[in-house]
Subunit: 345 residues, 2 copies
């Protein structure tokens, strides 16, 4: 299936997410020519990879690109991937124990080119290293704070996958042994219970309940006390409290929201200090919904980081991710660029 | 200076320590033919590297090995090393801003072969990966607990040097914000203040002082109360309390020593859990004087590790280092084997 692809000019970067898949068509060197976004496939519509193959075939059928132009396919998946390119399992999509090189060989026999695969947190980190906030570096850690908290790690220019593909699980650093609410992993007091979006919302809701005397705009949301608001018309359900609402309230000086965000930022800064003490990357990149919600958070995270980190490492910059949701596709493109050109495309 | 060395059969592995230097003569493939141990050089006797070069010349002068047989020189130094092979600085020896390849080229022009250099914590980790407790792996973390606490990190078969060569500074994870005694780094409450040898001794001395009612064999040591023992003849100074004495007391059931070692083990296990959550190595190796002092410690460190680590990673083995003080030399040999044979010799 593999051929000499050094003269071929097109790379497909496929970022397969839990709900949507993004297919980037790249010119060698990293220019994105087109972007296709579609629902991630399931068993019902033929399978995850079949849907990707159909979309690639559709792109090829338009005529401007032929199968012979394709230098490679880079793929990111939301799950565990071995160094050898086997997808072991994915939590939310139907992809398990598949060797992608072989599978794409069957699905798209007309494309004679390498297939590379990585976990999509790592793919996003690669993307940020290639074209974004980590450009020009080869040791970066990208921490994504969203529904959960995890890290994509690139050291010596290579993805660190770790034992069972489990590197980067820093959301499960145990930071509070007194916690009584369990984390999804079964432990109590994991970092992501306080910093990821649900944890921030939960903390705000708890403080609102414990301090009914403090006025707050967050009281109009679900869990903020709105359920008990007898002035609401019957049948009207208060909107769910989002992490964005908590950030907005903090920006407007709300005492409870400021406290919750302040505490989360301090904990995140301390966790990043631990990461730096261990790996000493050239840059730490913050991505994900929670990081995007507030530039304010970046400052307080950085302050906390500097307070806790080994003094010689205080100069490591902490930056917001630059590529948004394109990072994964760009990282998938990079996997191919890297395998064709060597370490430095 | 570099030549094709693929047919040459001898490698020098030079582990330069703060007080002694070890020179291993290896046959390609890793067999150690001879070991020379001598005081690390200083400005007074010509310089650190000059003394190494003299010793190498002495080995060559014996006639069984010629300069043409030398496939390379691997060097470990107690300091900061860039990826490019420049020794930036060393805390305790006179070696600063030196590009070793060039320097050995001048000192030993008869040897036409590559010179590789790494920090000696990383060299020891490479050695353990090549021939010791991490044999057959390519993702290992070796934590050395002695006078200080640091980690040598090998991921994807490569040393992780990090920003300014500072990766692995896990002795400075801040674990106790209430601490009032400063660490050498200027912070308060760093991990190594509790787990490294001086921290264990200090903790025992403090408890002995706080609990004069508890009998303990440690009271006969300095700082254990022996200074106030009026039955000691005038002029007799009690022996210094060592970490080995504290371990011995713990083995014999001493309450204070057991408490101190138990607490240190728990903290170390938790720190290793943090390391695993981040990097998920295939094996964690414990080296250094404190680790060697007690097999008992390994069990309690492992228990604590399992309690704190992300559940999927509880199976990562924690092992004692297997090569003792030879690890550094063997790792230096491996640096050359790796650069000649590629990643897997």
């Amino acid at each position: 299936m593999q051929a000499d692809c050094s003269e071929k000019m097109i790379v497909f970067g496929v970022d397969i997410g839990g709900t949507i898949t993004k297919l980037g068509v790249f010119k060698r060197g990293g220019e994105m020519l087109a972007r296709h976004v579609f629902p991630t496939g399931s068993k019902e519509d033929g399978g995850v990879l079949e849907v990707v193959a159909d979309k690639i075939r559709e792109v090829l059928s338009r005529g401007s690109i032929t199968a012979d132009d394709v230098a490679g396919i880079g793929v990111g998946v939301p799950g565990i991937v071995t160094k050898g390119g086997v997808v072991v399992e994915c939590a939310n999509i139907d992809l398990k124990e598949v060797y992608l090189q072989e599978e794409f060989g069957k699905l798209l026999p007309e494309i004679q080119a390498p297939v590379r695969v990585g976990n999509n947190a790592n793919a996003a980190a690669l993307g940020e290293m290639y074209k974004g906030a980590g450009k020009g570096r080869e040791d970066i850690v990208m921490v994504t704070v969203g529904t959960g908290l995890g890290a994509g790690i690139i050291l010596n220019g290579q993805i660190v996958t770790g034992y069972h593909g489990s590197a980067g699980e820093i959301g499960h650093l145990m930071v509070n042994e007194e916690e009584t609410v369990p984390c999804g992993c079964g432990h109590y007091g994991c970092l992501e219970q306080y910093i990821a979006a649900p944890g921030i919302v939960r903390a705000a809701q708890q403080l609102l309940k414990e301090h009914p005397e403090i006025p707050s705009p967050l009281r109009s949301y679900s869990g903020g006390g709105a359920e008990e608001d007898l002035t609401l018309p019957v049948g009207i359900v208060p909107p769910p409290m989002t992490v964005e609402a908590v950030f907005d309230a903090a920006h407007n000086g709300d005492e409870i929201a400021e406290f919750v965000i302040g505490r989360a930022s301090t904990m995140l800064g301390k966790a990043l200090a631990f990461v730096a003490d261990f790996a000493a990357p050239e840059v730490i990149i913050l991505g994900g919904r929670v990081s995007r919600a507030s530039a304010l958070m970046l400052d307080s995270v950085t302050d906390s980081y500097k307070r806790f980190v080994y003094p010689a490492l205080a100069g490591i910059p902490i930056r917001l991710a630059a590529l948004g949701s394109d990072a994964g596709m760009i990282g998938c493109d990079y996997m191919i660029e890297q395998c064709l050109y060597g370490d430095k495309p």
